[in-house]
Symmetry: D2
Subunit: 417 residues, 4 copies
């Protein structure tokens, strides 16, 4: 990882809500949130209590892919609180407990369903670093050297990649329908509705709908990677809810356990559940502790609409204050959607300077984007209004300070980074 | 998964030591041990206590790849109790928390180090089901259809694959040194010293040493996948210790957390640690809860030689009694090493019948091998002598009963499976 | 092959200039010209005489890659008449005698030079059907089923692919320079300046120059596939001469022998000639008979500028009369450059109808394009003005007749194809 | 190319029968025979006369894949003189005119027929250097660097690869039938019955029959690459005739035109001819001049059994005298079958010394094998007894001289090569 907060002398110790403490007792506001794994903050008391209770009653901790009471309870909650209210009848597959594992499973399943190899993925997409997932990931740093050929993926420009005037879905449309385009018929179209690592790029509803339609007409499965954008991060449980589409496959991980525990799942439209028994196996497919906390997370936050309303309010606050921060930096723009947002300050060096200063002032942030040029703001969704404002105050001050310093150096001819 | 104990109406609830209970209160002896993930049994009291304490003091649960007090404590223990006493100076990389993730990292690193693509893997090897790992896995059931081409791996016959008279390392030796053999220079040779899923096939020390030498002379990295055979399963912490070799890369997972929690790591000889910062990343690389229990596991079981001596005693018991069981089945053989053992009963149907009857009598077992023809006996290493004997009694009775039934049906011309 | 003239009852026998005769003595004007292999017409008398002389004096016919007097004479002519006058110092490699063989060699060499795997090719490109070449070919019909994965090529939109307003080179530019685009650094950019099989699509000079510049700045070799467009077909010996660029590698085949004999070569900038001796071998790399006729072709047609001037005049005639033909078909457009041209009539069925009627009237034509919707006009470059006019008369009459018939059927509601 | 006769100052000019002349008039006996492309010698008078007649009557020279009178005449001869007498009903496909082109077509077709990707090829096999063919070729020199991944092929040890006692087909048998071997179900098994470039390794009839049976039982197509060993080189038209097998696909090239002209074809059992029209196309599939000479070759040499009887007599002479030569070199062995034979002298340097001295004495030879350690003797099959003896005299003298020189140096401690 790249940003300053990953300094070697920082040894984290305890954490609660949106605050982490290092071994010296120093506190930090955490606007990284485990890169989206801690949407409900650190050590939520209800999840913690449930996990301790599970431990104390000798609840089983590992049962391969066998059924357990904890798994059953999670599935019941997931079906009643997530799937049914959204009119979805997807099956739930527990893959290995990381997003990359689930992406691997999704691509393998889509290839099996369609009998095709090719997968469409997008510029700046990030889907993990295992070989199958990495083929779909855009980042050159992770794609690595020529000694590991990655294949089976065709890259298409994401929404907005060629600027405002050009609908990039047009290229995909033409190439899909042109028998001489060189685009092999796709097994899947894999996309994030907001590209987290790619720089908080937001796809428009119309573009996503067109892509969904192209998947459908070309016989490909639509796979939404909601690893980072899901679990409420953009305001709804799934990031695609406002768009009126229902993907064939959905990948969830990161915040699905609610507590930062490794867990991932793949949602599969019933007609595409063509796995043979044990075909895609793995030792840690059912992380029982994660089932325990995940169930509590669903019951606590998704039984009513209150949480979504809270997130909407916090999103508005974020949008407003990030705009203030962006106004301090020439050419900067606010990016993202919901509580998955940030400021593109134009260069990685600039963003690193802002992150460094925030860290000194007690705020942890990360960067994202092709050049790490985006200061990424990913607070726990549960961050109280006061703390959110505190963090944004620090960010604004840091942004202002870096901007001033740069201006000064610039006018004195000393800009280096 | 394939065997009977994965029946849908079994819902596991609690577990302690070598015993699991379902929601109806029925108890089972667990000789599956999470496919090797529960070498220290279920819910070890010391690990549980440490994890509860961590939870109660709001110990951080997720910190991406940042340092935490729990990670530091684990690393200290791992270095002083595992690496140093064995004269190893490997670096520790936390990959995604599954064995497949760690295998992916190992292959990627070996390819980066050598600038080569090809990896040598062996017949009946099992290394996971993500795309990069799956390429090295032999099992056709998992390798799946032609729509997912797996490449970059050359398959060689494992020790004993062509019968007793033939040293299969000779083929690898010849092909490595013949410039016209069609074998591309390998980045890595990847092997298990005992093939768990492959049927408890045991490589001889001489064969492993020759393979290690071939890796060295051909400029390939020797990668030992100790996911299932490591953490004491064969009697020593690493399965290769008795052979006098030191692999370049070692993959550990399954029992490394001690408690069945997802965790994996890759040991890297320092000269091969050529990763750039963040090059092989992932959200769940540092499962803090697993660090907590893993540290306790190391301190509790590997501070002295007592545990290894216990495992040796239990291994002897297992070997003796499995021989008795094998004697009941015409043509059956005992397979495996240490407490990673079983009986090859000749057919999957036969093995399934034995496993089914054991389950009915309260003993959980799995099968392994190309045809699931091996009844696999993988008790927790901590299983008390009495319980071990109880389980083996059940196995012997079941084996005898199935053998009799088959004989009867055979003499009446009614054998079907 | 698809078009009507490939009917099974047509058995060709003799040919001279632009006229072929079948075994029944029926004559046809040949505006297919061996898909560009017969730029100088059939059985040119000077080449024929030279070949007969070679045969009569027992000139060697096959000498592997050893030097022969015929090869030496060809190389002398090629250097003095083609390379030197154009300021090129490329080395000449004789690959296997087909265009695909030479494309394979070009891609292999570019990959060896750069140490990269990826090759940029374009929508609607056609480069052959061997596995390496096929990966760069766009046509789905030839790319075939999922059982033959083709990889190592990234497809980009050709000039004009997204309509007039959009410079498709912009996408390549952005993706090359965006470290997170998912585009792996290319070994080569491979293009035809006019896409023959792809539908006579013409790249603009500005677009080609920008692509050449992108190759240069991204460290990729620029490879021009001049198999069909070279040897004078577009008016100059190489199709790229008017654009002021010098490719790193140039692939020639088809008309290079002058007589329709199998021959191919690869031109290599000296600094990229990194082949080891015998690295890219093959039995038929030096087709001696082809050297004999190829030398005559160069001396006869490329010693002065007269031939190019003739081709320019014929190109003008073609352009003018094809415009007349296109005017007869609603929505039809003239396509191509030089004597590599045709009419896009909108559908494969329409084009087939035109070709069928021409054939009945004694004119052989082919179709091209994603849907075979382009009537392709590729006469020998040596076709006398009178014969050219005769052929175009037939084409105009056929186009008119088909247009009328369609209109009639359309107004009577009977259009089917 | 590697051997001495490829010296740059040798410029070949004319040739007749088994004798070639350079531009200075110096003559050489040609025991290279175009690496098997000149089985009937240089400039056979009947083929030459037929080709001159074709040229003089303006016989068409290039007709893409359209029918021509020359193609029809060849096919008639091939069917009546080759296929029918051998009880074969294969279809004939003209691929691009090189062996590699035909191998590419064979593999593509086998993959299409079976829906599988994997192809079994053997150690030391040589099948060409285009990407698809190269994947099946063993030679590391040609397989090249890691920037060109070659895949889709699994390598198995050829007959005799592990010494006399071990039947290497056993490994293939086991791996094919073991569902966990890691060997993906093959589309094809591709083999040469004698490996020309690989060092004149001869497969035994029993081994070939077992491989044929394994292809059949595993649902793979048996593809015999008879490019070098076919057209009479081993004594029968096809090299596999004595073995009582009928391959599903047979690849012919090199001597099929009879005159050293580029030509290749693929024989396909009718039930496997699943090509769509034009699916595997190419400009030079029908080399008309080659059809003319190929027809004459078949009619002249394969209408009666006389030629085969002659070849048998010459083969005996070769075997006897090569044994004499081998006796002069400690450890040397005679290799090969029919008139495709040579001496393994133990090292490439040794073989090069022999070839060099032969060349000085007027005999052209090549080397073969993993280390170029085999002096390869491939005279035209038509070489008169007297010339054959002359050439072998030169070879024996050269072998003796090199052996003496080495012995002398050896006893004086000066061996360098």
């Amino acid at each position: 990882m790249r940003s300053y907060c990953r300094r070697l002398d920082l040894i984290l110790d305890t954490a609660e809500g949106s605050v982490v403490r290092d071994v010296t007792g120093r506190e930090y506001l955490d606007f990284v949130a485990g890169a989206g794994s801690l949407n409900y903050g650190h050590n939520d008391p209800d999840m913690r209590a449930a996990l301790i209770a599970h431990l104390e009653r000798r609840g089983i901790s590992h049962s391969l892919d066998m059924f357990s009471s904890a798994k059953r309870a999670f599935l019941t909650a997931f079906e009643s609180l997530v799937l049914l209210p959204r009119g979805m009848d997807h099956r739930v597959q527990f893959t290995g407990p990381t997003g990359a594992n689930a992406v691997e499973a999704a691509l393998k399943l889509a290839r099996k369903v369609t009998g095709r190899t090719n997968v469409i993925a997008f510029t700046n997409g990030f889907h993990g670093v295992s070989q199958g997932a990495l083929a779909a990931t855009g980042n050159r740093h992770h794609r690595g050297g020529p000694e590991i050929p990655l294949y089976g993926v065709t890259r298409m420009p994401y929404d907005g990649y060629l600027g405002d005037g050009i609908d990039t879905a047009e290229l995909l449309d033409r190439m899909l329908h042109d028998p001489s385009s060189g685009l092999d018929a796709p097994a899947a179209i894999l996309l994030e509705t907001v590209q987290g690592e790619g720089g908080l790029n937001v796809a428009s509803p119309a573009w996503v709908r067109r892509i969904a339609e192209l998947a459908s007409t070309s016989g490909a499965l639509l796979v939404v990677d909601d690893i980072q954008a899901g679990c409420g991060r953009t305001g709804t449980f799934f990031s695609f809810e406002p768009f009126g589409i229902v993907p064939d496959l959905v990948v969830l991980s990161k915040s699905i356990s609610g507590y930062g525990l490794p867990m991932a799942l793949l949602l599969i439209r019933p007609e595409y559940d063509v796995w043979l028994p044990g075909e895609h196996n793995g030792t840690f497919r059912g992380n029982v502790h994660a089932f325990v906390t995940a169930r509590v997370a669903l019951e606590k936050f998704w039984s009513t609409r209150d949480f979504a309303a809270d997130v909407a309010r916090r999103s508005n606050l974020l949008a407003r204050r990030l705009a203030e921060a962006a106004a301090l930096v020439p050419g900067a723009t606010v990016k993202g959607r919901g509580m998955m947002c940030g400021i593109d300050v134009g260069s990685g060096a600039y963003a690193a300077a802002v992150v460094r200063r925030c860290f000194a002032d007690g705020l942890m942030l990360e960067t994202a984007g092709s050049y790490d040029q985006v200061v990424k703001v990913l607070p726990p969704l549960t961050t109280p209004h006061k703390l959110l404002d505190d963090g944004l105050d620090i960010l604004l001050a840091a942004t202002g300070a870096v901007a001033s310093a740069r201006e000064t150096r610039s006018s004195s001819g000393l800009v280096t980074a």
